[in-house]
Symmetry: C2
Subunit: 368 residues, 2 copies
């Protein structure tokens, strides 16, 4: 707060975002570019930016009017992509990531954003912000391009934890429904459970138990449970929230990304193939741009950590400025809806319903 | 064999395929269409066709010259898509699926093909054909469009079994490498293990153990182990064979399918959007057709059951004639390379290497 870039804090209207400028694959310049883009569209946004001060000052100063909206907080070191989360937690106090989370913890900022090491960010967020009462495993939710009116579905967990038992899956359903309600304006989200088939007898034991639990809690928790969905339904309009464990969700997310990328490449090749197809590409330029935008993973950049006392948005490690701007936009929207508090209230309310459902199970089990 | 459609059997050169004409979503007519397509390109193929005789005779008789290449075997009933595999196994002797597998069991046909209920087909195949000595869990392998010269990668298991421990994953690596070697002419396939990250410390415990086992067996088993791969690598040219459990593999397969389908739809919409883009679509017609063919899931139709005494090819339930023809072509190729026997030999050979590796583990564990 020493160099004229200080933020006047509580008195400024609008949202304050805490941004880790260092952790991404492409360095701080794309983060600053993304901040500038987002700031141009949403002039009320304020930023606390964490990282190497001289570098950040140079970068931010290049963008007209941005410096006045930023407070720069110097951090000596950076969490590397290949560092073990547990190691980062022990030795990471001087990192830009730590500092980014602290600004949310202290209440100075409403949302933390980082392009850095996902595992470290999750572990640090869990340790510093702590889990919401009643949540066993936090989850990362992503937006998935779909045929729904909003253009997206929510999927969780996409990588916070590689395990999830039936109760965790129930909590993911509650958290995902709350996210869809507050972040996407869906009064009564439809929740589906990812499985290898839609028939009742299919899938792992914990998934069958989870289906039963979620179905029983749904009415009281104001969402509709549509039962099992398959991989092919992820982009469909059958469902708004897709619940799965973090291993499966992460593989599905990256598979969708890889498939879309390969098809885009082949499309570009196809249009270079003959002189006629080159002319075609020119004629269809605007249509193709629209298509490419609608399947662009950068547009849906931003995994949201759910289940913590504070909102943390993980931007893709390889994000460019467009991706960072998307993550900032998402963060601003979540901050405006104050959804962390609403989610906590939902979890508390649903806990009773779930406990009752599981007690019934236990009683039945004992009677059998 | 009563009605002039009899096959003269051993004296005819070429491959005899046993085809379940009944189990698919679209009924026997698409199966017969697919047989006709495949037969036109490969006139040496002979078929034993199972299902409702009057219906099949009528359908096959419509195709010039096809009846002479077919033997029709009547079956009273059909396995439904929603039937439980265990129920089918107990009551399924009169079904076309059962009859289809019996023709391979008896040695009359080399490969069985069905578009029916996957779980029932797998359980019936396992029970009737039995597992190869040394194989604990058979697997279903699929071909995945990729940037490799062949245009495909192999992924397994995509749904034979929802569980897989470290030893199962090792066997999948051996079976997948053998499939790539015999079915795709790759002398030294590159095998990768699907995980949520490529760093060594990531993933479930059984996956880390499997990575160690596969790495140690690879040199003796004539494949290269490239370590962990992620969802985004499935269509890449980093790897030829992707090993995973059947739950994850099935979700990934269907996610890729769903993503490709959504993008194709949006592409069609984009080209209808303006008069200019409609003209563009005409100009780029051949390029777009080539693109659409290269990402068409029907072209890679045919999951191969690996690890059984006999080859079974599962065609997609919603296959059209193009899809059925692709499954028949794949079956003919597998029959020609006689790969079930080669695979059995590989498993037997590698079993010793694996046992040695695991013994070393046990010794180390005891010493620690």
């Amino acid at each position: 707060m020493s160099d004229g870039t200080a933020l006047t804090g509580e008195t400024i209207p609008g949202t304050v975002l805490s941004i880790d400028a260092m952790g991404g694959d492409r360095g701080p310049s794309v983060v600053v570019d993304g901040m500038a883009n987002a700031s141009a569209k949403n002039p009320d946004l304020r930023f606390i930016v964490h990282g190497d001060r001289p570098e950040l000052e140079r970068q931010i100063d290049r963008k007209r009017g941005l410096l006045a909206k930023c407070e720069i907080r110097h951090a000596d070191s950076v969490v590397r992509m290949d560092e073990k989360p547990s190691h980062v937690l022990r030795h990471g106090k001087s990192t830009s990531m730590w500092s980014t989370i602290e600004a949310v913890r202290s209440g100075e900022a409403q949302v933390a954003i980082s392009c850095g090491n996902t595992g470290a960010l999750m572990l640090m967020s869990m340790t510093r912000l702590r889990k919401i009462e009643g949540v066993n495993r936090p989850a990362i939710a992503c937006l998935w391009p779909s045929r729904n009116p909003s253009g997206f579905n929510v999927m969780l967990d996409v990588g916070a934890d590689i395990r999830a038992d039936a109760e965790d899956l129930l909590q993911y359903a509650l958290m995902g429904a709350s996210y869809a309600r507050n972040g996407m304006d869906l009064a009564r989200p439809r929740v589906g459970l990812l499985n290898v088939g839609t028939e009742e007898h299919k899938g792992r034991a914990e998934i069958k138990v989870a289906a039963d639990l979620i179905g029983r809690v749904a009415p009281a928790a104001d969402f509709d449970f549509v039962g099992f969905v398959e991989g092919v339904d992820l982009p469909s309009d059958k469902v708004d929230v897709i619940v799965t464990d973090g291993f499966t969700g992460n593989v599905a997310l990256k598979t969708g990304e890889g498939t879309a990328k390969m098809i885009s490449e082949r499309m570009r090749e196809a249009f270079k193939h003959t002189p006629l197809s080159r002319i075609a590409a020119l004629l269809a330029y605007t249509s193709l741009r629209r298509l490419s935008k609608s399947i662009d993973p950068r547009r849906v950049n931003g995994g949201v950590f759910l289940g913590l006392n504070g909102t943390v948005v993980k931007s893709h490690g390889a994000s460019d400025a467009t991706g960072v701007a998307a993550a900032i936009k998402l963060s601003a929207r979540l901050s405006a809806s104050d959804f962390t508090k609403r989610l906590a209230a939902r979890i508390a309310q649903a806990e009773h319903a779930a406990a009752a459902a599981m007690q019934t199970d236990a009683d039945k089990g004992a009677a059998e």
